[in-house]
């Protein structure tokens, strides 16, 4: 099939958001259709099923060059990098150089966390499962040098400690800077060189690179923002790269390599005779460690969803203008890797994955039904929840919560974009979980964690898309640090 023409793009631009997903009969059609339906410039997908690799791609690498996107295009994979970082760190556990339950200050004695208890008790196991309680979405810019990780960690004195290590799940990018630094120290190599030597080379992941100067000479995609359907797509500049955040989100790869990577994990850490992890270590990564939402846990590195007793492991990725996802179903030997080069890629990937699970495996995940709201619970929740880059005001609105989100500039604290949405309670067993029903955050869930402290016995945390924010009044620290625009890694 041909690449979408400009006129077709224009048609998509002005169309209303389409309702249902057509009944595609092939992966190629699904990828083509969903890329167009959600206005994603480029999508690459690889499915591994019953011993076959099926690849498909649609669209272009960049709206400026309009180079047709091939399945072997190199994309930013964002936070899927964390599973690479975990794999790499665990090679050190297998060799006895790193202990998952040793406090990380053993490896990074200068770790400057403000919370003395957390400083002494956070372990690698907490970091790899996002349960350290460290404030997670701090990005900053610490240069391109090999010392970027050291510089980033030196500023960890500004991080909030949301809860005691191990107490809950809160998605944590900063924890993976620390994972990177520890790897760096224990191997005596840059994180990138260690990954190359210990993971990429043994598993033959030759399409996976770590720097833009290596991607630029290959077939590669460029990220795009879709500020609004009316404004259309714009190229994301600069190409997101923060050296210190590479272990959290800076790996560049292809759908083919992501499938190979997942297969090596499904295969117990060994691929084509190259063992990178012990079988029990690969298994540990896939074993639920901390509850992370409805039907969802984190193991070590992997996110694990369980539906009808069938486990799906995976990870998503989001950097400026790129959205990525990797999902594997170990008991079916099934893998789907998806890479997209625009914000709305998230929606397209959800649709393509849902189609693929049904098409190849007959698996459907019915949407959890909305349940009647508990008025007193809504009243208890209502309030203002703040973290450094976002303020969310929740109001009880009869059968749902009305949310008013203000994005805050992490540098100045100035108010940026506004989002409003409704979130309805959904059937989630004995928990109260609220699902966003429309807009940019549609489908994301909000959970509330009762985590009292001595200072604040009624302390309540909102967890939206895995990120936590404390209900005001909450303990506050002076904001001293300046950072660039926060970005989901």
């Amino acid at each position: 099939m041909a690449t979408r023409s400009e006129s077709e793009n224009d048609a998509v631009e002005t169309a209303a958001w389409p309702e249902g997903r057509p009944a595609y009969t092939s992966l190629a059609a699904a990828v083509q259709g969903e890329a167009a339906r959600w206005n994603v410039p480029g999508v690459a997908v690889a499915v591994y099923h019953e011993g076959e690799l099926i690849e498909a791609s649609a669209g272009v690498t960049s709206i400026a060059t309009k180079v047709p996107l091939q399945p072997h295009a190199v994309f930013q994979i964002g936070s899927i990098s964390k599973v690479f970082a975990t794999t790499l760190a665990l090679t050190l556990v297998d060799e006895g150089k790193l202990d998952l339950d040793e406090p990380v200050i053993t490896y990074v004695p200068e770790l400057p966390l403000a919370d003395a208890e957390a400083r002494k008790t956070i372990t690698m196991r907490h970091l790899l499962s996002h349960s350290s309680g460290l404030e997670g979405d701090r990005f900053g810019d610490y240069g391109r040098g090999d010392d970027a990780l050291d510089k980033a960690i030196a500023r960890f004195d500004i991080l909030e400690q949301w809860f005691r290590p191990g107490e809950a799940f809160a998605y944590c990018n900063t924890g993976f800077y620390l994972v990177g630094l520890i790897t760096n120290r224990l191997t005596g190599k840059s994180w990138e060189a260690a990954l190359q030597e210990r993971v990429l080379d043994p598993w033959g992941l030759s399409e996976t690179v770590l720097f833009a100067e290596d991607a630029i000479t290959r077939h590669h995609a460029v990220g795009h923002f879709l500020p609004s359907r009316e404004a259309g797509l714009v190229i994301a500049r600069p190409y997101w790269n923060r050296r210190h955040a590479t272990p959290a989100g800076g790996v560049l790869s292809t759908v083919g390599d992501l499938v190979t990577f997942a297969q090596a994990h499904l295969n117990g850490g060994e691929l084509n005779g190259a063992r990178v992890l012990k079988a029990e270590t690969a298994q540990l990564m896939q074993t639920p460690f901390i509850k992370a939402g409805v039907n969802r846990h984190y193991g070590q590195g992997w996110s694990i969803e369980t539906h009808d007793g069938v486990a799906q492991i995976g990870h998503g990725g989001a950097t400026d203008g790129f959205r990525a996802n990797l999902t594997a179903i170990p008991e079916k030997g099934f893998v789907i890797a998806q890479l997209t080069n625009a914000d709305p890629g998230r929606t397209a990937m959800e649709q393509i994955e849902a189609w693929a699970l049904e098409h190849y495996l007959g698996i459907t995940h019915p949407k959890a039904p909305i349940v009647p709201a508990d008025a007193s619970r809504l009243d208890a929740i209502a309030g203002v929840y703040t973290r450094h880059s976002m303020r969310t005001t929740l109001t009880a609105a009869g059968d749902h919560l009305a949310a008013d989100v203000t994005l805050l500039d992490p540098d100045s604290g100035e108010e940026g974009g506004q989002r409003t949405f409704a979130a309805y309670p959904i059937d989630a067993g004995d928990e109260w979980v609220y699902r966003v029903d429309s807009g940019e955050f549609a489908g994301l869930t909000m959970e509330f964690l009762d985590l009292p402290t001595a200072d604040d016995p009624n302390r309540l945390l909102l967890r939206l898309a895995g990120r936590v924010a404390a209900k005001e009044p909450a303990p506050k620290k002076p904001r001293r640090r300046t950072t660039k625009k926060a970005t989901d890694a």
Binding site: A29, T65, G143, R144, A236
Partner: protein, 500 residues
Amino acid sequence: MAKDKAKDSGKTKKAKDVGEEAPPVIAEESATWPNGRPNYTSLAAAVQGETARFNIPGVQVAIFHKGTLDVGVAGVADLVTKQPVTPETIFQIGSISKIFTTTVALSLVDEGKLDLDTPIVTWVPELPLADEEARTTITLRHIFSHSAGFEGDTFEDYGRGTDSVLKAVLDFGKLEQWFRPGELFSYNNNGFVLAALVMERVTGQEFEQLVQERIFTPLKLESSVYFAENAITYPHALGHFLKKREDGYEIAKPYSFPRQINAPGGIIGTAADLVRFAQAHANGGELDGARILKQETAELMQTPIINSWDQYTSYGQGWWISEYPGLRVVVHGGSTLGFKATLRFSPEEDFFFAALTNGDPGASAYESLWEWALKHYLDYELPENEPIELGKKELDGLTGLYARQNMRIKVTRDKKHIVVRAYDIDPESGEEKDDGRPESSKTFRLEPFASQRPFDFQVIDGPSKGTIFQFLPRPEKDDPDRILIRVGGRTAARAEGPFA
């Protein structure tokens, strides 16, 4: 494009790295030597024609004259995707970056933050040059006129950090000092790394940020960047190496030099941006109300101080200046990993020419386009080369049979001249191929002319009159008589001879 591919073997298919594919061959291996430039009537035609004639993957030329900007493009951004070059495609400009570096340093001189004649050790006391006299006397004026005298070409990797510049300079203790500062011209990349350190010290800012703030932003050079991670988001050309002609082009990897080379050669941009930059220089350091240099400083950069090239050409601060009869041209070129570039302008004629190419032989194409443009826009012809005499012994030393794949150039001497005969051979028999071309297109008489190289020759008569043949001695340990011949940007090595 979408494809649904099921593998029959059940094994995972590995998509190939694009760079590992067999390199595309565009060289017309049996092509005849270029026989002179057609009379193009437009820039578009000239760029198309010369790109094809010299087999360059891609070329972008911007010319500004009398208020009008023309941009001509041809070929592809890279030979793997085969995306056409457009006026927006960004190329590495290589050493033209040195003029940006010099300009920023001089803007700091204008502000009194730097001085051209203060020894650099004032700002970099730890400068570890081994030669103490050089260490304590070298100034920015020496650096920007390539007369500092220390070894200039080291391209080691000092990492990606801001400290890469300092790390590189701290390694300067190993550089040889070839002559006393100010004594001679000798092209020096390392000097610009040192200049970047000085600029970072006096401003407290990263070098790249200084160029952004002091040139790119005020002059609105919106397609000029440093770093691959910035270039990757623009339509960009890739460099191409032509190591062995029979293998065709290959994509140049790595894409770029290490970070500290940004000051001597790291900019990636468009020809149109280069023209704007040159306009600011021609216009006394100001363009559209944005002043980047004082007028006298812009003029200083174009003031010849050291003879460096042919009989017409000297170096100023950053710029080369060629003073031809009736035409002054200010020039800098760039040559980096698979990219060749030039920027030239005549302030008096209000004429600006920037050419960017992404293949090793790109300089041949842009030289030809420059000559064409001078004629077309200014009705100017560069002065004829001045013949010189060479001794019989020297001429004999150049004779022999030069070979490149299926092409042969037989070089002999008659009483007065070098005679070359260029022909193709049949690869099967090794005999000369009968291609029906007239002898006049194969045999040429050459005379040497004054040049910065010792053995530059031109065709004396016939249809190829003026075509330049260069003999380039390139001795190697095990082959002290090794010599190459270059014509039309193509090089052949001597396989037999000399015939004396």
